[in-house]
């Protein structure tokens, strides 16, 4: 079972597709959670997920915007997709009947 931050990272990387790399994933997570994401948390989690076979990383191209520094590109593997889906399903299942979910539905309707 994934951790919360692991799920966020996989989801952000998956959404970015071909453009998933450190800074872009970080920006995506910060925008979604409205909380700061540290480099330490980001890169150690990427390593951990790669070791579990949920992500694949490689050094990509360098751009002038980055001072000629290479990007660490990220791709979610099929195992990673399954793990994220399992996490999402579990969250949805456990959330059924939760007061805040009912309220949200009530507000929407």
């Amino acid at each position: 079972m994934l951790g919360e931050f692991e799920y966020l990272l996989i989801t952000a990387a998956s959404g970015l597709g071909e453009n998933a790399y450190g800074a872009a994933i970080r920006e995506e997570i910060e925008a979604s959670t409205e909380r700061r994401c540290s480099m330490g948390a980001l890169y150690t989690t990427i390593d951990r997920l790669e070791a579990k076979g949920l992500l694949k990383t490689w050094m990509g191209e360098a751009t002038p915007q980055r001072g000629g520094r290479a990007k660490r590109m990220v791709r979610v593997t099929s195992k990673g997709v399954h793990a994220a889906k399992d996490f999402y399903d579990a969250v949805m299942r456990v959330s059924r009947g939760a007061s805040w979910v009912e309220n949200r539905i009530g507000n929407a309707s």
Partner: protein
């Protein structure tokens, strides 16, 4: 990122591995963070990396199993070898050092050889077992030395005598870090030599009981070379990357 802060961030990023440094510095430039925030990010990552290393048993083995106890014991051996030398060559008597105080040249030679081989074997094991935490192991091995120097006054011999073990130990660490091959035969010869010398010193009542603890890096080396010989059929240690991969894939 301002002009003064960036060189600091670049300097601190040297603590990261090359590829990671490249990616992190690029990310920081791209996100246009302040130098202070960049420094925090880099140090945060370095700390996490260092902490991650200590989840394995190897750094503990190298630091607290070899470096710290060996540093303490070898400091004592260095001092006693120096005192024995002074007694035999300059006829100065220091009756408080070493078990008997009546050693002759053969025992001095025996202790000197033991000091060199113990230090080298310990250093080699530390250098091979956990390279990335070497700075912690080095600090731990020097801790007893500096504690002693700060606590006691050494009037009989020069303070430098305490550091005698550092030369062979550093050589061992260096060779261990460079993956210098040690064959099973060489490791066995070293371990047997140390054992025979220790038995000889022990039978002359010129060996402190705790110094038997210094024997284990040499025998660990024998076990490691034997094991790598069994697994990789190379008969030397550390095994090369290709062999490691082959063995891991079995």
């Amino acid at each position: 990122m301002n002009g003064i802060g960036w060189p600091l961030v670049e300097l601190s990023s040297k603590l990261l591995e090359r590829d990671e440094r490249e990616a992190v510095l690029g990310d920081l430039l791209e996100s246009n963070e302040s130098a202070w925030q960049g420094l925090l990010d880099v140090f945060g990552l370095v700390l996490r990396r260092e902490a991650g290393l200590w989840k394995a048993s190897r750094p503990w083995l190298a630091g607290f199993g070899v470096a710290l106890p060996s540093g303490f014991l070898l400091m004592g051996v260095s001092l006693s070898v120096s005192c024995t030398y002074q007694r035999l060559i300059n006829h100065k008597v220091y009756d408080c050092w070493w078990p008997t105080g009546h050693e002759g040249f053969p025992l001095l030679l025996c202790h000197t050889l033991l000091l060199i081989t113990w230090s080298w074997a310990g250093g080699y094991v530390v250098g091979t077992v956990s390279r990335r935490t070497l700075w912690v192991s080095a600090a731990l091995s020097l801790l007893p030395l500096f504690t002693y120097l700060c606590t006691f006054r050494l009037e009989t011999v020069s303070r430098l005598c305490l550091f005698l073990f550092l030369l062979p130990a550093t050589l061992g660490v260096r060779q261990g870090m460079r993956n210098a091959r040690v064959s099973f035969r060489l490791a066995s010869l070293l371990a047997l030599t140390i054992t025979v010398l220790m038995i000889s010193a022990w039978s002359s009542k010129a060996l402190w009981i705790f110094n038997w603890g210094l024997i284990w890096p040499a025998w660990y080396l024998v076990a490691a070379t034997w094991r790598s010989g069994q697994e990789g059929r190379t008969g030397s240690w550390p095994i090369d990357h290709a062999t490691y991969t082959r063995v891991s894939l079995r």
